[in-house]
């Protein structure tokens, strides 16, 4: 898992310091896009840090970091706004890239009255229909056949939108992975499958998820191309997703991308990886940090300065601080709202329960924190 450099089926453009590898083809990416990716990757990392700190302070119920895996989030970068994205729970960068605001993000964490999903779901379960970012759910893998359905719907409706779906390597063990991949293969749906192989599914290492040589190899069973890419190499990510999107849009069908990366921290704020893995393992991967590599590349291209990074960092930190300050003034969603959206129109039995609950003594939700 560690010896990434030695795997010759792996697409790479940058070395671990962010230098372009000898003979590597650099994808066409505008400086503007590179800047924006760097900026958004910074935001992602800063947000992770801030949220995790809040969680440790007991102010937030739950959080899931993605540190070390952020490059894979930008597989969405070459998409058009009209394309659809079906995320799992660990691609914060994809949300910010598409325009999800720091305020929405923070409000969702708190499940407060401004939470776009009205306090209905746990932290990190976003939804933004105005960005074609589909509601995240906890059961892993369910989004995979859904993404295929959306891709196929576009095709049926004569549009050239594509779908992109994210999931972890552990999730490739689910039945949903199989049925989704298989439908896409048969239907030639314009769907791009991004498997973030971060080495771990909670405490279970990837060797216990599959005996296949790689996750990309699974594409063979579905008659689609499977590509392994260094998931910490932003240029390689952009290269392979560009290709996959082009294929999909041209009607040539789906692609499976395995982004080889590493879950540097615990699975979530509830996890303690020291129980099940060697604390040395993350250290090796930290040297391959995607943000540092992008920074290295930008430096070489003369696109980076300490001042600029300082400005980015400050701006994002400030935005988060502002959003958190606003949070202090926000309460939970109104109790009445708990009964909305089960159906389009409230049926009698829910109306009855609502009336009853509202007539009862109010429960003060013991864990609604500011």
């Amino acid at each position: 898992m560690v010896a990434v450099q030695m795997q010759d089926d792996l697409r790479r453009v940058l070395d671990d310091d962010g230098k372009v590898l000898l003979g590597a083809k650099v994808p066409q990416v505008s400086d503007e896009m590179l800047h924006k990716i760097f900026d958004t990757m910074m935001l992602t990392r800063i947000m992770d840090d801030r949220m995790m700190r809040l969680q440790r302070q007991g102010r937030l119920g739950f959080y899931m970091k993605s540190i070390g895996e952020e490059a894979s989030h930008f597989a969405v970068a070459p998409l058009r706004p009209s394309d659809w994205v079906f995320p799992s729970y660990r691609e914060q960068g994809a949300w910010f890239w598409r325009g999800y605001s720091v305020t929405d993000f923070v409000n969702q964490m708190f499940g407060n009255e401004k939470d776009p999903v009205k306090g209905r779901q746990m932290p990190v379960h976003h939804s933004a229909n105005w960005l074609n970012l589909v509601s995240i759910s906890s059961p892993v893998g369910t989004q995979i056949p859904q993404a295929v359905g959306a891709a196929q719907a576009a095709k049926i409706m004569g549009k050239d939108d594509v779908s992109m779906v994210y999931f972890g390597e552990g999730t490739s063990s689910t039945g949903e992975f199989h049925v989704g991949m298989n439908f896409a293969g048969v239907w030639k749906s314009p769907c791009i499958f991004v498997c973030r192989n971060n080495g771990w599914a909670i405490s279970v290492p990837r060797e216990k998820q599959t005996a296949a040589k790689s996750f990309a190899a699974k594409a063979v069973g579905y008659g689609m191309p499977g590509i392994r890419v260094d998931g910490n190499d932003i240029l390689a990510i952009l290269q392979v997703t560009n290709e996959a999107i082009e294929r999909a849009r041209a009607g040539e069908g789906p692609t499976l991308i395995e982004a080889l990366t590493y879950r540097v921290q615990g699975h979530s704020s509830s996890d303690d990886p020291s129980v099940y893995r060697d604390p040395k393992e993350p250290e090796i991967w930290e040297r391959r940090d995607p943000l540092a590599r992008l920074r290295g590349y930008l430096k070489q291209r003369g696109l980076w300065s300490e001042a600029a990074e300082g400005e980015i960092s400050e701006r994002h930190n400030q935005a988060i601080t502002d959003a958190l300050a606003a949070v202090d003034t926000l309460g939970p969603p109104p109790v009445e709202s708990m009964f909305d959206d089960v159906y389009e129109h409230m049926p009698w039995h829910i109306a009855e329960q609502k009336a009853w609950v509202m007539s009862q003594e109010r429960t003060k939700s013991p864990h609604y924190h500011h």
Binding site: W84, F86, D115, P116, V117, K118, R120, Q121, H125, S127, A128, N129, V134, S135, S137, P139, T142, I144, P145, Q146, A147, V148, G149, A150, A151, Q152, A153, A154, I156, M157, D161, S163, G175, E176, H178, V179, G180, N182, F183, V186, D340, D341, V342, Y343, E344, P347, W348, H349, I350
Partner: protein, 324 residues
């Protein structure tokens, strides 16, 4: 008015709506060229093409998962699950995803998918071609559950289901797919979802039923009539949300009630009906509400007619309630 059986009425509803609304697509196992193992989609593939009448690989989780994605993107999928007994591989997609999409996204993502599936026994299908799983879905907030008993209702309710914006489980009574015949209007009409139908008025006892059991109740009521016993038969038609007003009105009138369904008795929908009625109308009840239901065993093959409720069992239970 043309006379149709239930299969024809379902097909007519699908065809009518597909002509009207380009967004409606049908998908499932064998629904294409073959027209479905019960032939409910026969002719649709020819008329609407392979893009809108889609043969899928053999995977119910894929059928429903894909249907969800299609609905999110803007289509109006009407997936078929070949037998109700085979819906369980899609259970997670239905109860954790389809049912909760609107709610969990704070109203952002409605998910109008209408799942059609044949249910019920009496066709020599044994364990796996006979089940009646409605209770599992009625217990799942976010789903509507519809269970028509005749061609007229089947068409009117299916049309209504395809024109509203919530996910629906549409259960079709396969035993009487062809046996139940009746006049069905051509073209469009809708029956209101959530409204029961008093198919036969009576004064001594109310029988609540739905799907394939309605004809059994009617048979019993007819027999009883000769014996001076007046049974009111209420066809619930929609199980979620069920029509509490019609139910209460009838039970208050008769003071006695029996619930009839094919699914196993324990924790079946009958239990909910009883609980709901006694919560609201106990003072009107002159006897306990009893159930005639499927037995709490898996559905057997040879003895399926010993397993399933029938008119005699219903009448004996009605008498028990009357003599209480």
């Amino acid at each position: 008015m043309p006379v149709m059986n239930i299969i024809e009425a379902v097909r007519d509803a699908l065809r009518t709506q597909m002509r009207q609304d380009q967004r409606v697509v049908v998908l499932g196992e064998d629904v294409g060229k073959f027209g479905g193992v019960f032939r409910a989609t026969s002719g649709l593939h020819e008329e609407f093409g392979a893009d809108r009448v889609i043969d899928t690989p053999l995977a119910e989780a894929g059928i429903i998962g894909a249907a969800i994605g299609m609905a999110l993107y803007g289509l109006r999928p009407v997936p078929e699950i070949q037998f109700g007994d085979f819906i369980y591989p899609a259970f997670d997609q239905i109860v954790n995803e389809l049912a909760k999409f609107r709610y969990r996204s704070g109203g952002q993502y409605p998910c109008p998918v209408v799942i059609r599936t044949p249910v019920g026994g009496g066709i020599r299908g044994g364990h796996y071609h006979s089940q009646s799983p409605e209770a599992l879905f009625i217990h799942t907030p976010g789903l509507k559950v519809i269970a028509p008993s005749n061609p007229y209702d089947a068409k009117g309710l299916l049309l209504a289901a395809m024109r509203q914006n919530d996910p629906v489980l549409f259960m079709e009574p396969k035993r009487i797919y062809r046996a139940s015949r009746g006049e069905v209007p051509e073209g469009e009409y809708e029956l209101e979802i959530g409204k029961a139908n008093v198919v036969r008025e009576g004064s001594h006892v109310t029988v609540l039923c739905y799907s394939g059991m309605v004809s059994i109740a009617e048979e019993a009521a007819k027999k009883a009539e000769g014996q001076g016993l007046s049974i009111e038969v209420v066809d619930l038609r929609t199980l979620m949300p069920f029509d509490i007003d019609t139910i209460l009105a009838s039970v208050k009138k008769t003071g006695r009630c029996v619930v009839l369904h094919e699914a196993p008795k324990t924790c079946g929908f009958g239990a909910e009906l009883i609980a709901a009625i006694q919560e609201r109308a106990m003072e009107h009840l002159e006897a306990p509400i009893l159930r005639v239901a499927g037995l709490d065993t898996p559905f057997p093959y040879t003895l399926e007619h010993e397993y399933m409720p029938n008119a005699d069992r219903l009448l004996s239970t009605v008498r028990q309630v009357l003599e209480w």
